[in-house]
């Protein structure tokens, strides 16, 4: 692990997320088997591996959609195992979804406004008598700020379903950003994109990281992963296969074997 400290260009020195021997079983199937790794604050971490390696399962465990069968997940030193997704989101871990997951029937502005939940939550009394206008205005300001940041300002009144794919993905990230995460989990953000859209999305992802948010992403687009991530964690058949910088992983025999099925 010392090699890593030298090679990875890390921004912070703090472990924000620690996965400690996490196992997840579905009946007789072991989707994750004693996986451990740690994510440093401020990095862009790639979680890669062949299909069925357990990447998405790992995400769902972190975000609280599943509870691990055994092992522990620590966020800023605190166990978040077994908490509900909404409580984990409130702590600052927010995920985006595979495919494009948006409120298709709402406008761009409303989509992001839902994301501001932490800031804008209202109770019934306040809602009926409109007593929290100031709070709601602050949320609306935050929406404007996020849309500006993600370059979606001129589309704010459009329905989410009417946006082109690239903008939909940017909107999905905007919804997540509005909830003010410190750790963003991105599930295949580049899937189905053309090279131009991918480049744009990579720029946006870097911009998000520069704003102080740690990113973990699952992705199959190797060019994007290698270009974007500081450090990679490779899973195979539910087990941790390798960890290292993009260069190390590119030349790791075990990783090449896992991807190409042992063909030399």
């Amino acid at each position: 692990m010392t090699a890593r400290r030298v090679t990875s260009e890390r921004v912070g020195d703090m472990t924000i997320l620690k996965i400690d021997r996490v196992t997840k079983q579905f009946g007789g199937l072991t989707a994750l088997d004693q996986v451990s790794f740690a994510v440093e604050a401020g990095e862009i971490r790639g979680l890669i591996g062949p299909n069925g390696a357990g990447k998405s399962t790992m995400f769902k465990n972190i975000a609280g959609f599943y509870a691990p069968t055994s092992g522990d997940i620590l966020y800023q030193g605190q166990s978040i195992c077994g908490q509900k997704p909404h409580s984990i989101a409130e702590l600052g871990i927010v995920r985006t979804f595979q495919e494009t997951t948006l409120f298709q029937e709402l406008t761009v502005f409303e989509n992001v406004l839902v994301g501001c939940h932490k800031r804008a939550r209202s109770n019934l009394f306040n809602a009926i008598f409109r007593l929290d206008r100031e709070r709601q205005q602050m949320a609306a300001d935050k929406v404007v700020e996020v849309l500006e940041f993600m370059g979606l300002s001129d589309r704010r009144e459009q329905l989410a379903s009417e946006l082109p794919l690239g903008s939909q993905r940017a909107l999905a990230i905007s919804v997540a950003l509005a909830s003010e995460p410190s750790l963003l989990l991105m599930d295949e953000p580049f899937a189905g994109m053309n090279p131009e859209e991918t480049n744009h999305m990579m720029d946006l992802t870097r911009k998000v990281r520069e704003s102080g948010i740690t990113i973990v992403l699952v992705e199959h687009d190797m060019k994007a992963v290698m270009g974007l991530c500081n450090y990679l964690t490779v899973l195979n058949f539910g087990k941790l296969l390798a960890e290292g910088t993009p260069d190390e992983i590119r030349n790791n025999d075990r990783v090449i074997e896992a991807y190409l099925g042992g063909a030399k």
């Binding site: 975000a63 959609f65 509900k84 997704p85 909404h86 989101a89 409130e90 927010v94 995920r95 985006t96 979804f97 997951t101 948006l102 409120f103 298709q104 029937e105 709402l106 406008t107 409303e110 406004l113 839902v114 994301g115 939940h117 932490k118 804008a120 939550r121 209202s122 019934l124 809602a127 009926i128 409109r130 929290d132 709601q136 949320a139 329905l159 379903s161 009417e162 919804v175 997540a176 509005a178 909830s179």
Partner: protein, 323 residues
């Protein structure tokens, strides 16, 4: 500014029409107008439950909970209508809150069946526990209030009373829907995993919508029993629940006023086919099927469709968030 004045003018016209209406009708139709006004509250309160995407089959029974509460409060404790109405809402909301724990472990189809079973369990209690609920025959002897020398037994004064109460309830329901809470209810409906991932406790919001809806339908139940004077378990059976569903589906449930249009239009329609007594169920079935086939967005979508026909500009009319 012109849009706003237009809105105010049409609002005033509507109000004047509602105030004049009972004087243009015969006695029998005045009765009907009161029940229609109450049913407007029933569908509007049902709408807030459906906002989260869950269609419950317990709404009619919740109206009965309100009705029985008002009846018992009036007869046993001699409370006036000013107390029985809020109490009817509160008791319905409290029972809804208790039911949340089993019911919202389920979603979609299972929730539908679960809510139906819970409703029937409550309804059967009214039949089985003759004391205090009066069994199949129900209870009677509930009276409307007396203020000065205005006799609310007469339909016209009671209609105005109903109009005020229902108007206030609709105003509150509308405000809730247009607030942050309404937006979150929509978001729970359209994509609850995404809502959860940004910190929305979807269980709590589903429960909240159910409790609010039950409160207002409880008030509607109280209003009904004070006019009718009697209450029986069969008024709140699955038959009435089916009517609520038909009103909401035919009216359309994407906008606040959709269900209201549905209940008004279908009640007028119902009156116009009164002479064809045996055919009415069949006609209702046909109307429901036709509206699902040809007007899946409900009657509320007709203006949008006509506008689109003339402008030929594609426009998405499935937006739940009208401005």
């Amino acid at each position: 500014m012109t849009g706003k004045t237009g809105k105010i003018i049409s609002g005033l016209v509507l109000l004047a029409a509602l105030l004049l209406l009972p004087h243009l009708l015969q006695y029998h139709h005045q009765d009907l107008l009161i029940f229609l006004t109450i049913n407007v509250l029933v569908v509007a309160s049902y709408r807030i439950v459906t906002l989260t995407g869950e269609w419950s089959l317990i709404h009619a029974v919740m109206m009965g909970v309100g009705g029985y509460t008002a009846t018992l409060a009036f007869k046993q404790f001699e409370l006036g209508m000013w107390f029985t109405l809020p109490l009817a809402g509160i008791v319905a909301a409290a029972i809804a809150a208790l039911l949340c724990f089993p019911l919202f472990r389920m979603t979609q189809f299972y929730f539908l069946i679960g809510s139906f079973a819970a409703g029937e369990a409550i309804r059967l209690c009214w039949i089985q526990f003759v004391n205090p609920f009066g069994g199949t025959g129900g209870l009677s002897g509930v009276e409307p209030p007396l203020i000065g020398n205005i006799d609310f037994l007469e339909p016209v004064p009671y209609y105005y009373l109903t109009l005020v109460v229902v108007g206030m309830c609709l105003f509150i329901l509308h405000r809730i829907e247009k607030s942050r809470i309404g937006l979150i209810l929509h978001s729970v409906h359209w994509n609850s995993p995404l809502a959860e991932s940004v910190g929305v406790d979807t269980w709590r919001y589903r429960a909240l919508a159910f409790i609010i809806g039950s409160f207002f339908v409880g008030v509607a139940g109280g209003l009904k029993v004070h006019y009718l004077g009697t209450i029986t378990p069969n008024q709140f059976g699955v038959g009435f629940m089916v009517f609520i569903l038909i009103w909401v589906i035919v009216g359309g449930y994407n906008r606040f006023y959709g269900p209201v249009i549905g209940v008004v239009v279908l009640t007028l329609f119902d009156e116009s086919i009164r002479s064809l007594e045996e055919l009415r169920p069949a006609i209702y079935g046909a109307v429901l099927i036709a509206s699902i086939l040809f007007l899946p967005q409900g009657l509320e979508s007709i203006p949008t469709r006509i506008r689109r026909l003339f402008s030929r500009k594609p426009e998405n009319d499935s937006s739940p968030s009208n401005k």
